[in-house]
Subunit: 338 residues, 2 copies
């Protein structure tokens, strides 16, 4: 599951967004506003065909974390191309959410009815495809070939991550490295792309794209790990979902991988039997995982990743304000789950 | 339904493909071969994640009509960018087929198991997304901004056409203009994009893109009309599907629209009641439609469109061989359904 915590209206907020906006200054706020207006135009620009449900999805908000990363990595860049890049990464993110909702048969996202629930499978699949296409149309308008390549690589990675997750479902043998690779594909690459796009189209330039991309990839990985921890630890009123939803899906995440190493009896649990089990049994499995210390260990791993993300910033010549704002985003990813 | 007739191994072949290859000369054959090699690399280039089913889909062939249009419109252009454009349009086409198969729960396409049937919904949705992403990655590599914009507009149109079709399903009031608009979105735009890409990246240049694009759009429209006629007229052994599959889906196509005008009693038929009806009843409805002359009238409309497509070629300065090859493609679209 991508981005579980944003799946409901009661999701944890990005703690520190106010701080980031403050650190980013009026420049960041103005860029986010321009991106928001452009997203509304995209939502409204396809008349009846994009339809009310998709417009609701686009307008329902979300944290706009990926556009914020584009803009923060862009330094003092303020071009229209940057706005397009912020819009494009958000559209790709939304396209995957709309497709995820079809696959999960989800009724609500961010407290709004999903495109799937109001329009059905066909409309939701086509809406996701449309959002993908619009993302590339936005970015193509910048005339920057490198930018289009960065986004298409990231969206390929997203799809490959989904395929890997499906292929590994219910596996008893998925190890830590494979899990981390999947997280990088599913989540890290789009965060990385956001940061790279900011560098390429902003004042840092393409030369800073690798280091800023590494920053993005690492906080994306931390974000996914913490999301996966929340699936096991989180009270339903916080996640909006039944605890252990990933386990029920057969998605093997870091908490289970570490718990299996610590408690070999857990390795014997057949996830395929879970969907028929009572809710109490799933909760009991979550508790067994927690009892091994796997949740705390997973959180530590996420924190290490955030620390390394901040280190990567040291390789780029950034202004003090820009660095501070990016560090706040990195911390915000952790605090969001605190 | 897009491209019904290619859905099975027993589909009508593109009559005249040999003739087109002959008219296109060794240049066309060489480009198609390069595109085929590149498609195989894309299929194999994602290791286990793209997976055997998607690779089978990519390798299963199909007529490669869209890449052929790219190359034929390119004149004497032979660049690697052209090959990328041919590959990109074919990847977008394949992505929509893979997603269509999910929505139709189709077991076979071109005689091969679909990604949906072997990998399930999640894998097939992600595979379609991956093929979309790879299409833009291919085209981004050309560094031609106009080309990326053309493809992203076409893939947006495809999705909008699907959404329109879904929104109009089972409608008693869909008129001819709305149907034609939907066909242009669903089918015409990608044919148009193929021709425009050929012009932009080939010797005709961007100045010839409008006229060649009009040629493509019109033969795409004819292609879709004839496909819709076949759904009503076609013997199952030819289409590989139960006759009237569109009617069962609630998809209102030209034959039904014209038949409703000719026989008001047909306008009273509630398509929603069809799925529960016996096969004989659907066949009887197809016969009632045919009895109004609607199939013949639809075919005539498709032929008019092909004639106008050929006229559009008159606005471009083409070599005799290039014109002849393009006219053969236009005729081939009709002969395919003869």
């Amino acid at each position: 599951m991508n981005d579980t915590a944003s799946a409901t209206g009661s999701a944890p907020s990005l703690a520190g967004l106010a701080g980031i906006l403050e650190a980013g200054g009026p420049g960041l706020a103005a860029l986010l506003l321009r991106a928001e207006k452009r997203l509304a135009e995209v939502a409204g620009g396809h008349g009846e065909t994009l339809g009310a449900p998709a417009a609701r999805t686009l307008n329902a908000g979300g944290k706009r974390l990926r556009p914020a990363l584009v803009f923060l990595c862009a330094g003092s860049g303020r071009s229209e191309a940057l706005v397009s890049a912020g819009v494009a990464v958000e559209l790709v993110h939304m396209a995957t959410l709309v497709h995820d909702d079809v696959l999960d048969r989800a009724a609500l996202r961010r407290g709004q009815p999903t495109v799937f629930s109001t329009g059905g499978r066909t409309a939701a699949t086509a809406t996701g495809d449309l959002l993908f296409s619009r993302a590339f149309a936005e970015l193509a308008g910048t005339g920057n070939e490198e930018a289009v390549a960065v986004l298409s690589q990231a969206s390929s990675a997203l799809a490959r991550g989904e395929l890997m997750q499906r292929g590994d479902a219910f596996s008893a043998s998925v190890g830590l490295e494979r899990y981390l690779e999947r997280c990088r594909l599913k989540t890290g690459h789009l965060f990385e792309a956001a940061c790279r796009l900011g560098a390429i189209l902003g004042t840092p330039g393409s030369g800073a794209a690798a280091a800023l991309g590494s920053f993005g990839s690492r906080i994306g990985l931390a974000f996914q790990i913490l999301d996966d921890v929340l699936d096991v630890s989180g009270p339903a009123e916080r996640t909006g979902k039944r605890p252990g939803a990933d386990l029920l899906d057969g998605t093997v995440t870091m908490p289970l991988i570490l718990a299996r190493q610590a408690d070999p009896a857990l390795a014997e649990v057949d996830l395929r039997a879970l969907p028929g089990a009572e809710a109490g049994e799933v909760a009991a499995l979550c508790e067994r995982i927690a009892a091994t210390g796997a949740l705390a260990a997973s959180r530590r791993r996420a924190l290490e990743e955030v620390a390394r993300a901040k280190e990567a910033l040291g390789q780029v010549n950034l202004g003090a304000e820009q660095r501070e704002a990016l560090e706040l985003v990195a911390d915000g990813v952790v605090e969001r789950y605190a």
